[in-house]
């Protein structure tokens, strides 16, 4: 209820596992609100889903460990869009997770202090978890 008043986005999901979707412009605001007002100080993970022509969806799961409530926050970046606000200023743990997200999906997190690949080599081409990236993409001199 509080979430709806503040952000105009209804919270779905179950009583202890809420799900909220907001426009990409409100992404950092939502995270700050979740951390400061809702007490969700624990960042479980941050990731993305590629919905092909509908564009990328960034999602994160934060928790209030004292009250045992989890909140899954999501945002759609829109077709062809690959920029998203960074959450590093809110959750320090988002640093590596956003780097992984950039590595795998090519999402550019604006405001990230050091956005570079984390799991793949720095000279890797493409972002493997995009649906447009075929599993058998050749990589000369290897197959």
């Amino acid at each position: 209820m509080l979430i709806q008043d503040r952000l105009g986005a209804p919270a779905g999901g179950e009583e202890r596992a809420l799900v909220v979707t907001v426009p990409a412009a409100q992404w950092r605001e939502l995270a700050g609100f979740a951390k400061e007002t809702l007490g969700c100080r624990y960042l479980s993970f941050l990731s993305a889903v590629d919905w092909k022509e509908e564009g990328l969806e960034v999602m994160a799961r934060v928790e209030n460990l004292d009250d045992n409530v989890s909140l899954t926050v999501k945002t759609r970046l829109g077709p062809g869009e690959s920029h998203c606000q960074s959450l590093v200023a809110v959750y320090r743990g988002a640093d590596w997770m956003e780097r992984e997200c950039y590595d795998m999906f090519g999402i550019r997190f604006d405001g990230h202090p050091d956005l570079r690949r984390i799991l793949l080599p720095q000279d890797w081409e493409g972002h493997p978890l995009l649906k447009s990236y075929a599993v058998d993409t050749p990589h000369p001199p290897y197959r």
């Binding site: 479980s44 993970f45 799961r61 959750y91 743990g93 795998m104």
Partner: protein, 386 residues
């Protein structure tokens, strides 16, 4: 990393010069392949950049190409020191989505192997950590060999159960694939009793050793705030004063039936992490005994055994399932599209988040402490890099 710390000043004799030192990726204390680029001022670390990804096998992409029956045995290869917990996270996500019932006996068996796995995994942690701190413990390899010897006994149990010692393929969607063989329960009881006695010996060896205490107490302190923001879990967050255990917060697989204690320490240093894990050893054997006492009869799976790769279909939807592995929250986020394969699979590796805390806590410590802190985090790089 602080940009100021990246600057390398030429060697001189003033004592304040900076030196960049590469550690790894093939460093014995890395417990896998991990590279740390340390900026040193004298013997003190002032900046650290962590390089990971050497063990990346694209598990998440692989998960999109394999079916719900094929992937569980691959899931064991994320955290290969605690294969049972990662398998469970994956099949639980599929079961949540498909609303698949798991028979009581299978739930108990899952708890049983999960807790035995925790004992085996903590044995590896204690042994390797003590070996990392080497010289201080009188040669170093003693604790390691003791721990590995006891871990072998647990692996023998797993071998009798599934035929494999490291990567099991024990879980399947709907239950487990194997039931206990004859005589197994008795051997299991003897093993946990034996290991319980050994734990006391290890504690005596370590806690009476001033060198060990000097290297563990007050070293690598993680504050409560930092612990939550980074998202560390398992023994690490409990050593930082946060009472967070998924077996309690969100009981899965009938954990609510068992009586056990969740150890919490407030110091947040290497010694607190050590204490939490030592108590967990005993709590795990306590749970194992309770499972063996109360093991219900009945089927071990609500679904037929694996016959064809595409036999499990999961309806459209998404679910996040998590289990308390030896290293913390092992989670699997599944997005299903109604076919026999997931549309998207995300691994939340406990070690990935746990390792991400290192650049925040290592600056300010001596080089030798880097090894002690890294060992106390207990990362498994299969799970960091996935």
């Amino acid at each position: 990393m602080d940009p100021e710390a990246r600057k390398v000043i030429e060697m001189g004799y003033g004592g304040a010069e900076r030196l960049t030192m590469n550690m790894g990726p093939q460093h014995p204390s890395a417990h896998g392949v991990f590279r740390a680029i340390l900026t040193l001022q004298g013997e003190t670390v002032v900046g650290m950049d962590a390089v990971i990804g050497y063990l990346h096998r694209c598990h998440e992409k692989l998960g999109e190409t394999l079916t719900y029956t094929q992937y569980p045995s691959i899931a064991s290869k994320t955290d290969y020191v605690a294969a049972m917990s990662s398998e469970l996270a994956y099949v639980r996500a599929a079961e949540l989505l498909g609303k698949i019932e798991v028979p009581k006996r299978a739930q108990y068996l899952r708890v049983l192997v999960g807790e035995l796995q925790r004992i085996a995994s903590h044995c590896v942690w204690l042994g390797t950590w003590c070996m990392d701190m080497g010289g201080a413990l009188g040669g170093g390899a003693t604790v390691f060999l003791y721990c590995i010897r006891e871990r072998e006994m647990v692996l023998d149990l797993f071998e009798a159960l599934v035929g494999a010692r490291l990567l099991y393929g024990f879980h399947q969607v709907g239950g487990t694939r194997y039931d206990l063989p004859a005589g197994w329960v008795q051997t299991c009881r003897e093993t946990v009793d034996f290991i319980d006695r050994r734990i006391g010996e290890w504690e005596d060896m370590l806690e009476d050793n001033d060198f060990f205490l000097a290297r563990a107490r007050g070293v690598g302190v993680i504050s409560r705030e930092l612990a939550q923001e980074i998202g560390i879990s398992g023994p690490l967050i409990r050593a930082s004063g946060v009472n967070y255990d998924i077996r309690r917060a969100e009981p899965y697989s009938s954990y609510e039936d068992f009586d056990f204690k969740v150890p919490v320490e407030t110091a947040g240093d290497c010694y607190a992490r050590y204490r939490v894990r030592m108590v967990e050893f005993r709590e795990s054997s306590k749970i194992v005994r309770q499972v063996l006492d109360g093991l219900p009869a009945g089927p071990i799976s609500s679904r037929p055994g694996v016959k064809s790769v595409g036999q499990v279909r999961i309806p459209k939807g998404e679910a996040y399932a998590r289990v308390e592995g030896p290293r913390g929250e092992v989670g699997c986020y599944l997005v299903a599209d109604g076919s026999a394969k997931p549309y998207r699979m995300k691994w939340r590796g406990a070690s990935f988040s746990n390792l991400a805390v290192l650049p925040h806590i290592i600056p300010g410590h001596k080089v030798a402490d880097v090894v002690a802190i890294m060992g106390s985090v207990d990362p498994v790089f299969g799970e960091v890099d996935r």
